[in-house]
Amino acid sequence: MKWFREHTRATIAGVILLLLLSLTVASYVNQGSNSWIGIQLERVSAFLQEPVSDAGNGVSTTIKGIFQLRQLLAEREALLEENARLRNELIEQALSRADLAELRSLTEAMNYIDPTEDYSYVTAKVIAMDGSSWYRIFTINAGTENGVRKNAVVINGDGLVGRILDVGPNWAKVITVIDENNDVSFQVFRELSLLGILSGDGEGKIAGYMLDEDAAVIEGDILVTSGMEIYPQGIPIGKVSRITWDKDALLRTVEIEPAVDFTKVQKVTVIMTVAADTEQAEQ
């Protein structure tokens, strides 16, 4: 006791360290579940971060616009060309409208249940992102008030972003697929029977393996979610950048370049299953 009295500073530091270590262990055991204090802190933080983030994006866009004028002009040309091509496609597809109407009447007659009708969507804006390279976790400005639930799937225009890790009234924390230690099952878009499992490789990319060791996957193949876990089927994950044969594990491993640039995510869509919502509402 005498030593503790004589070394007050060291004692206080030791107690604080012990408390923090206990907190770390507790958060590891209960991953993704925040305490009441944590939720309220996040709420205040989200309230402050949103206007700063808006201002930051405005400044960044203006500065980039000044320095990237040539690039923007080239992009404009490319978009005009794409627009013309899409208009032509639209004319061509108008011809198949009659076929579509016929198919729809057939689905009604057969009482077919469309799986995509089981999902609801919420669009949100990224208001804060982790500055370090440890995690690519970010906060969005939609929460339980908007119907967002924990483990809901998050996508953007390019593909799969991740899932909701934690949620508060007006915010939600998104963990990206590159941070995931959990496995995600995928299928090759070119040949849907080719299945595999992937997870973050700890280097900002995704890596995985094919379930069939003889799977004819090739570099450049686009991978999509298979719909086996929380992720609905058909969301683009990325492109195969390298294929290797693991002699020890007897597995065909693939390195995947993510479809989404996680450093530049600004808007996302949260997909929620109606079944999960109903379950939660009943509880």
Partner: protein, 172 residues
């Protein structure tokens, strides 16, 4: 420095780090303002502002952006303690010493954070972590020098400082 001013510095650092700075990253790397402020306040100023605000804002950073809650708070706390010890042995009016403090703080933070992630079975490559360190050292030093030249020079001077001038003027 007053506690209120220190709190505002840390709050602004936290907000900038998570929002505005993301738009101006260099090769995908952005400075860690909270780490810089923790080192600066613990190294330049007497008192426990670096330790206390480092701990509080480290926790806030963990709550907002991490799966694990605690690593950043622990490391800011330990680095601030280390810096408050180092300041007894180094002159605070030298930019070279600031560079030394910045290197020690940044290197320790990233190495220890990686170790904590390894203990908790997170998947994170050591080489991937190392590749950002040179850019981070440069960015952190720039941030610290800017702070030192604009704000830090107003730090309270003490007799052990090399160029200490007594505020009391003696008349002959």
């Amino acid at each position: 420095m007053k506690n209120r001013s220190a709190f505002i510095f840390f709050l602004v650092g936290f907000l900038l780090q998570s929002t505005l700075v993301q738009s101006f990253s260099i090769m995908g790397v952005t400075p860690n303002f909270l780490l810089c402020l923790t080192i600066l306040f613990a190294f330049l100023y007497q008192g426990n502002q670096g330790i206390i605000f480092g701990l509080i804002f480290g926790l806030l950073q963990d709550i907002a952006f991490s799966v694990l809650i605690g690593p950043a708070a622990i490391l800011y706390f330990l680095i601030a303690l280390l810096m408050s010890e180092i300041r007894h042995y180094l002159y605070r009016d030298s930019i070279l010493n600031l560079f030394f403090a910045s290197c020690i703080g940044t290197g320790l933070y990233y190495l220890a954070y990686w170790l904590i992630l390894m203990v908790f079975k997170e998947n994170y490559s050591f080489l991937y972590m190392l590749k950002d360190i040179p850019i981070l050292l440069g960015l952190h030093f720039i941030v610290m020098v800017i702070f030192y030249l604009t704000v830090g020079k107003r730090s309270i001077r003490h007799p052990q400082d090399r160029y200490y001038k007594s505020p009391v003027k003696f008349r002959l």
